[in-house]
Amino acid sequence: MADRPTTAAAYRALLGAQLRAQTQYRFSFALDTAASALITLLDVVSVLVLFRVTPALAGFSFTDSLLIAGLANAAFQLCDMCVGNIDTMREYIRTGRFDAVLLRPLRVLPQLVFGDFSPRRIGRAAQALVVLVVALSLADVTWTPARTVLVVIAPLSGAVIFGAVFVAGSTTAFWFVESGEFANAFTYGGRDFTIYPVGIYPGWFRAVFAYSLGFAFVAYFPGLALLGRPDPLGTPGFLPWCSPLVAVLAATAAALVWRVGVRHYRSTGS
C-alpha cells in the first residue's frame, strides 16, 4: 500500500518529535550547547598543558600526540552524538517507562537513539572533527591512498567501539538499576584513556583497557598507521590497520549482551 509509512519514516517521526519537544525548553538548550562546547575544548587543552612540562609522551611528540587525541575525541563525540543518550535507558528502566518502549512495534535501540537524540551533540561532534583536521594538518603524515581511506574509517570504527561499550555498559542496568558509575568507568574512562598514547599507562592497566577492551584500536593504532611509525611497545605491524575488524567484533559482542539484558528486564510494579 503506497500510503503506509515506512519504518524509516517511523524513526524520522520519533526524531522530529524529540527535536520539537526540545525546543520547548530554549534556554536550557542554549546553556547546554555552550557548556558542551567548553568541555570539548578542555579535552584538547589538557594535551597542550601536558606538553608544557614534557617534550614527549611515551616517545610521541606534541603533534603526534595531538593527532591521537584528535582521533580519540572525534570517535568519542561521533559515538556520543548517536548513542550517548543511551544513559537515559537507566531512567527508563528505573521508572518502568521501558515498558512503553517494548510495546511499540519498533526495535528498542533505534527507538532510544532517535527518540532521545539531543541536537547539542551535533555541535560537539562538528567541533571534534575540526580539531581532528587541525591535528592532521600539523602532524607529519605522508598521504597514501590507504591512509586516506583510514583517516575516514578510523573515527567511525572508533565510534563503533565506543558505542559498543556504551550499549554493553548500559545493559548492566537490566540487572543492577543503580549501575551508572560502574558503566561510566568504561565509557568516559575509556574516552580519557584513548586521548593519550597507550605507552604512558602501566602494564596491567594497559593490558585491560588497551587490548582486552580494545581501546587502543580507537585512536592509538590508527594514529600509528597514519604517522607510519612502528609501535614503540613492539606489537605486530598489522595491528594498526585492524580497527574496523575490532569494531565489528565489539559491536557483535555488545549486541549479544544487549539481547540477554532485554530478556532480563523485570519491569516495575504496576
Binding site: D3, A9, L14, D99, L103, P105, L106, H264, Y265, S267
Partner: protein, 319 residues
C-alpha cells in the same frame, strides 16, 4: 484456535532478603505460578485479583514486555517476546502508568506520530481517529500538551492511542483507576460499545466492580499467581453467596415489617434504629418501597458486594 492461549505460564522473580547483618539470601518468588488460559476472539475478559496477585505481570508477559520463566504463551498466534514487534502491531495496550503519548507535545501530535510508529495508512488512521474524537469527546483538549491534561483526559487519549492501528486485542491495566465519575462513565461506556461491536477482544484488569459488571462477560480471578475462578460474575457471586446489602436508618426501632422476597434481615443494631438487609434476589427499590410504607424510613445506603472480599474467600477455600 483461541486468540490468546497460555499453558502453565510462570514468572519468577529473584528477591534478596536479609539473613543476618550482611548476608542476603536469594529467594525465587513466583508472581505468576502456572496459568492456563484460552480467550476466544471477541471476548470481554476481566482479569481480577488482589494487589500483587500477578495480574500486571501476566499482561506484561502477554504483550512481550516480560519473558516468562516457564510455560507457553501465544497471542494472535505469535510468541509475545520472540515476535514482539509483529505482535505490537496487532495489539493495543493501555497501562495507565506507562504513557504511550509524548509528554511535551500536543495530543494531536502524538496521534500523528503513532501513525508512523504503527505504519497505518492515512485513511484508516483518519477514520479511527475521527470516531474516537466523537465518542471520547477529545476535541476540546486535542491541542493541549499531554503533560497539562487531567488524568481523565489523558486516559481518553491513551485509549485512542492504543486503538489507532486497529488492534485485534486491547489490553487495559486498571483503565478507570483514579478517574472522576464522569470520565469513568465515558471510558466504561466507550469500552462496552467497543466490546459489543465484537471486532476487538478486551482483556482488562480492574478493582472496580462497576467496570466488571459493565465490561466483563467472563471473569478470571487470580490470587498468588494462580487462577482461582473462571466464569461469569453471576457464577462467582452464586458460588460464594455474596449479595448486595441495603442499610437503612429508621426513626423508630425496627418492628419486623414484612420485606419482599429475596431480601433478608442480616443484622439489627442494638437500639433497633439501623437494619442491614441482604439481597439475594429482587431489587433495592422494592425493598425501599416496602419500608417507606411504614413511614419511619430516614436514610438508605446500598453496599455493593466487595470483590476483594469474595476473592479473599475464594483463596481461603481449600482447593
Amino acid at each position: 484456535m483461541p486468540l490468546i492461549e497460555t499453558t502453565g505460564l510462570r514468572k519468577e522473580f529473584t528477591v534478596r532478603r536479609k539473613a543476618g547483618r550482611f548476608r542476603r539470601r536469594r529467594h525465587a518468588v513466583a508472581a505468576v505460578d502456572g496459568i492456563d488460559l484460552a480467550v476466544e476472539r471477541g471476548e470481554m475478559l476481566g482479569y481480577i485479583g488482589p494487589n500483587g496477585a500477578g495480574k500486571s505481570t501476566t499482561l506484561k508477559m502477554l504483550t512481550g514486555v516480560l519473558s516468562p520463566s516457564g510455560g507457553e504463551a501465544r497471542v494472535c498466534g505469535l510468541r509475545p517476546v520472540a515476535q514482539r514487534t509483529r505482535l505490537a502491531r496487532r495489539i493495543g495496550v493501555v497501562f495507565g502508568q506507562r504513557s504511550q503519548l509524548w509528554w511535551d507535545l500536543p495530543l494531536r501530535e502524538s496521534f500523528r506520530l503513532l501513525r508512523y510508529v504503527y505504519r497505518v495508512p492515512s485513511a484508516e488512521h483518519a477514520a479511527r481517529l475521527a470516531e474516537c474524537r466523537r465518542l471520547l469527546d477529545l476535541d476540546e483538549f486535542l491541542d493541549t500538551p499531554v503533560r497539562q491534561l487531567s488524568l481523565g483526559q489523558r486516559m481518553r487519549g491513551e485509549i485512542t492511542a492504543a486503538l489507532l492501528h486497529g488492534p485485534e486485542v486491547l489490553f487495559l491495566d486498571e483503565p478507570t483507576i483514579g478517574l472522576d465519575v464522569v470520565s469513568k462513565q465515558a471510558v466504561r461506556s466507550f469500552l462496552a460499545d467497543l466490546g459489543a461491536a465484537g471486532d476487538t477482544t478486551l482483556v482488562l484488569t480492574t478493582h472496580d466492580l462497576a467496570d466488571i459488571e459493565k465490561l466483563c462477560r467472563r471473569l478470571v480471578v487470580i490470587d498468588h499467581g494462580r487462577v482461582v475462578h473462571d466464569g461469569s460474575l453471576a457464577e462467582l457471586h452464586a458460588r460464594y453467596d455474596s449479595r448486595r446489602r441495603v442499610v437503612v436508618d429508621l426513626d423508630a426501632p425496627w418492628d419486623g415489617t414484612p420485606v419482599p422476597a429475596g431480601a433478608t434481615v442480616e443484622t439489627v443494631a442494638a437500639d433497633g434504629f439501623r437494619v442491614t438487609f441482604g439481597l439475594a434476589g429482587g431489587t433495592a427499590g422494592d425493598l425501599v418501597a416496602a419500608l417507606a410504607g411504614t413511614g419511619s424510613l430516614r436514610d438508605v445506603s446500598v453496599l455493593e458486594p466487595d470483590i476483594e472480599e469474595v476473592v479473599a474467600r475464594l483463596y481461603a477455600e481449600p482447593a
